[in-house]
């Protein structure tokens, strides 16, 4: 295992050039690398630094005040809550769906396989609209729910539904290839050794797909934390009531209260950064487990 990590380390090392080598590079390669690094800096590095600079421009006090506010905490609480539900529901559903897609044969399988990706293809705003049409006060289903006193759109259930919809494909898409690679041999071996389906899933299948699953769960969390469009449409964006962190940022900019927006953005960016590190770790583990 250790040697695998060393090898990937070496592979990364190709990009790290010492100063002396840099000077002796042919002009074409030099140009290419300059363009790539420059583009990267322009697009990703500079805006990130700009955000941090702007956020800390007035010192720490305004940031602290913004973070202490009730709306701020509610917005993040809401985002965390929605993300938690999305992770739990879509992980369970996603693993089940992947198992069905890989191991069962049924009519309409190709269609189901294709439709899983729909949330990736549809603009989140359109997703929001679809939910409003269906669950809104005048919608097909929403009409009946409303008379029953249950509100979906412009309330938390709608926001959860929107996030669930948008983040549905991650676990399915992440787990299907790992499951395909895993095959059924070990599962059959477990059955023959006397293990039932449930025991086999927990002791054989799940440990074998764990890195792929962890990786796709992180992607799911990142997407869920950053979701804006669909939630925007279905939430109604009621301050302190149906406002998530991203909506809070949006409001901060619109309402000329930039400190709050900066503070929220910084936190979101920091979380993303740590998740990137986590993803890289999981991806290496996944690669190592495939090689063994």
């Amino acid at each position: 295992m250790a040697s695998d990590h060393d090898q990937t380390g070496e592979a990364d090392g190709i990009n790290r050039l010492s100063a002396s080598k840099w000077a002796s590079l042919p002009i074409g390669r030099w140009l290419l690398m300059t363009v790539v690094i420059g583009w990267f800096a322009l697009l990703i590095l500079v805006p990130t630094i700009a955000l941090a600079r702007q956020a800390f421009a007035g010192g720490l006090a305004p940031l602290g005040r913004a973070m202490a506010s009730e709306e701020f905490r509610q917005a993040f609480g809401m985002t965390l809550g929605i993300t938690l539900v999305a992770v739990v529901v879509n992980t369970i559903f996603g693993v089940c769906f992947a198992l069905v897609l890989v191991r069962q044969r049924f009519w309409g399988k190709t269609l189901a396989d294709g439709l899983v990706d729909l949330p990736f293809a549809i603009s989140p705003v359109v997703t929001g609209l679809m939910l409003v049409v269906l669950y809104g006060p005048d919608g097909w289903i929403g009409r009946h729910l409303e008379t029953g006193g249950f509100r979906v759109v412009y309330a938390l259930p709608g926001m959860i539904l929107a996030t669930l919809f948008v983040t549905l494909p991650f676990v399915v898409r992440g787990v299907v290839p790992v499951l395909q690679e895993f095959g059924v041999d070990q599962v059959e071996a477990a059955y023959i050794l006397g293990a039932g389906r449930w025991v086999t899933f927990w002791r054989v299948t799940l440990p074998s797909i764990r890195w792929g699953l962890a990786y796709s769960m992180l992607l799911l969390i990142a997407r869920s934390l950053g979701e804006f469009g669909a939630v925007m449409v279905v939430s109604g964006n009621l301050l302190g009531h149906t406002q998530t962190a991203t909506l809070y940022v949006h409001d901060g900019i619109e309402g000329f209260r930039p400190e709050g927006a900066y503070a929220a953005s910084l936190i979101l960016a920091a979380v993303s950064f740590f998740m990137l590190i986590g993803m890289e770790t999981f991806r290496k583990r996944l690669k190592a487990s495939k090689q063994s």
Partner: protein, 362 residues
């Protein structure tokens, strides 16, 4: 009887994988299912294990009907071609798995795992992961794992198929010794006739999902019931009867009688094993074919000689190296080739006993 298979049939879509297969495996024996790929041998094994359901037919294990018993409760051991070890578990955990799911006491599990790892000569490897073992070692772990719950029968699906030739040879001999020690009734699938011969007590030859012949290896070799069996079990030459030259008019009546018609002068062909042919420079009293040496291939102790008869029929002979040297045969020589025994192709008119396809001595 430990395994009884009756009228088993299985269809995948339009492909008839197994059709009306019946055979029995006596208790304590090691039996091979031998056939080319697509002959249904793996499917039969998987049906016996309970991994596939047959369309029709019955499977009985140690006297009890097991056809509808779920795979977990059939009490079989199974060894996969690609080992199917649990990759995230150590060798010890792999072997213990079947005992743990049966909720055996911890001390018993530990003791048994130790014993099994000694049996497969891997006691120093208990804490390694499968990825740290060679192919042969992995397959031995798989074997220990399958034996741990003390199965009624052991099923092996091309157990040596993924190993390289030298390891395969070692492991075959080792499996045979292990079987003599443990005596668990075993059925194994192979497409390699030499493997089937080396390891098994009996061989079931399969073709197109049907049983062609069942018997001890030597019997199949000497008395094949069909051209398929004759050709599948080792090299065989197909030679034209008409070209056989019988200078002294040797009496071949016993063959004529078995086959009714005058096979010796017809367009019929016969099967001759490469080692059942004698080669000489001058014609003697025995019936022979005239041939020309096309190629000599030294293979260690023997020399393989490719000849042509009538310029278009091919013939192969395996000759001990010293005989080839004594005759000082070289490429391009004209020689005479006499069969010691052969089998006429096609069913004989009267079957003497059960020796339908016996290689007739001349």
């Amino acid at each position: 009887m430990s395994i009884v298979v009756e009228n088993l049939s299985k269809r995948f879509g339009t492909f008839q994988a197994v059709s009306d297969v019946s055979f029995e495996v006596p208790t304590g024996q090691l039996v091979a299912l031998l056939g080319p790929s697509g002959s249904g041998k793996s499917t039969i094994l998987r049906i016996i294990a309970g991994l596939e359901d047959p369309d029709t037919g019955r499977v009985s294990l140690t006297g009890e009907d097991a056809t509808s018993v779920p795979v977990q409760r059939r009490g079989v051991g199974f060894v996969f071609q690609h080992y199917a070890l649990f990759r995230h578990m150590t060798v010890r955990q792999n072997v213990a798995f079947g005992l743990e799911v049966r909720k055996k006491p911890k001390a018993e599990i530990e003791e048994k795992v130790e014993r099994l790892l000694k049996l497969v000569q891997l006691h120093g490897y208990a804490d390694r992961y499968p990825s740290q073992l060679s192919g042969g070692q992995r397959q031995r772990v798989a074997l220990a794992r399958s034996l741990a719950p003390e199965p009624k029968v052991l099923l092996l699906d091309e157990p040596f198929g993924a190993l390289d030739a030298r390891v395969r040879d070692e492991l075959r001999a080792w499996l045979r010794r292990l079987h003599d020690e443990v005596h668990v009734t075993s059925l194994f699938v192979t497409h390699d006739q030499q493997e089937a011969f080396e390891v098994s007590d009996q061989v079931v030859v399969l073709n197109h999902g049907k049983v062609e012949q069942y018997g001890p290896p030597q019997q199949l070799y000497e008395r094949p019931v069909s051209p398929f069996v004759a050709q599948f079990l080792g090299q065989v030459n197909v030679l034209p009867m008409k070209a056989l030259w019988n200078p002294q008019a040797i009496d071949l009546k016993h063959i004529q009688e078995a086959f009714g018609s005058d096979v010796l002068n017809t367009e019929e062909a016969v099967y001759v094993r490469p080692h059942d042919l004698d080669i000489h420079r001058e014609p003697n009293t025995r019936p022979c074919w005239r041939g020309r040496i096309e190629r000599l291939t030294p293979l260690g102790g023997i020399v393989r000689i490719d000849l042509s008869i009538n310029s278009d029929e091919r013939l192969q002979i395996d000759l001990p190296r010293d005989q080839q040297l004594a005759l000082s045969l070289v490429q391009g020589d004209d020689v005479f080739v006499s069969p010691r025994s052969f089998t006429p192709i096609g069913p004989p008119k009267q079957i003497p006993g059960d020796a339908a396809g016996t290689f007739y001595t001349i």
